[in-house]
Each structure stands twice: as C-alpha cells, then as structure tokens.
Symmetry: C2
Subunit: 72 residues, 2 copies
Amino acid sequence: MNEKKDLLLKLGSRVRDIRLSKGLTQTELAHSLGKDQQSIQRLETGNVNPSYIYLLQIAKGLNVELNELLNF
Amino acid sequence: MNEKKDLLLKLGSRVRDIRLSKGLTQTELAHSLGKDQQSIQRLETGNVNPSYIYLLQIAKGLNVELNELLNF
DNA sequence: ATTATATACAACAGATACGTTGTAAAAATT
DNA sequence: AATTTTTACAACGTATCTGTTGTATATAAT
C-alpha cells in the first residue's frame, strides 16, 4: 500500500509545517505533551499511523483544532 | 483515563449517527470497506482507538469528509 | 576544534489495533 | 411464536503503535 504511505507522509508534512510555523522544535513539542522527540520524528516522517487520541494530543500541542491539522 | 474513553465514546456515537442517517447497517458499512461487522461495532461502542488510516476509510464508507466525521 | 542543538534511525518491550471466528442478545418482520 | 435481521461481546493471532534507550548525522555556535 503506497497509498497508505503517501497519506502518512502528507500527514507528517502537515504536522511539521504547523510545528515550524509555531517556532517549535520536535523536542519542545514532544515535551509539552509528555512525549519524546523520537515520537514526533516518527510521525513527521510518515513512519507511523497515529491513533485518534494521539492526533488529538498533537493538535493540542500545536494549539490548532483537529480539523486544521487534518485539513489538507 | 476516563477522558480518553469519553472521547472514543463520542467518536463512536458520531460514526453511528452518520451511518444511521445514511440508512446503513453495520454490516453494510463494514462490507463496503472489506471489513467485518464486528470492526464497526467496536468503533461505535468506543472500544477502540482507531488509526488515522482507519478513520479515513470510515469517512469514505460513509461518504463524508474526514472533517465532517471529526467535527463534533 | 569542541560543544551544543536539531533531526533521524534502529531496536526493544508492553499495550493495543485490526481482522477474524464464534456466539448471544435484541429487534424487527412475517 | 418463529424466523430473520441487526447489534453486541469475547477471544485469538498478527501486526503495529507508543514510549523508551541508544546512537548517528548535520548544522550552528562558541
């Protein structure tokens, strides 16, 4: 399924773009959510298929609505 | 985390509401996505924390945008 | 050059998603 | 009442998520 990989890569790019627009590092975002830098790294590089709850947490850490995070 | 359980219950209710509004049974929705009735049941009753890709599939099966599925 | 900062990759363990089978309960239809 | 349809629950196996540790690479700063 390259379809799936593509979708995850796009999601990762979206997360990265928003994070950078907020001037945050992976570590800063991660720590604000009680996570490690590696968790964010895997998400941004499209190497995981994150859960609903995880996505909600990321949206919160980025100070955006979930809709905005997934709207692309 | 009752917080988490609450969020999953709300998501499940949302899926159920949309499914019923389309006049679909759990089995019909499931089969249209190559899944089993039980998969939809677990989602609607808040007993799973679905992945991003899974949510995209559900949205497709319900003929709604992901935004609409998560907008509640 | 050394140090500090930011990102990437691999692997491990525990937990859980997902597909599946079997079954039961509830509701609707005849 | 009997049958059919719809939904719910449990358990199993495989796969994967998530947190974590360790490390590597690249860039910037001192």
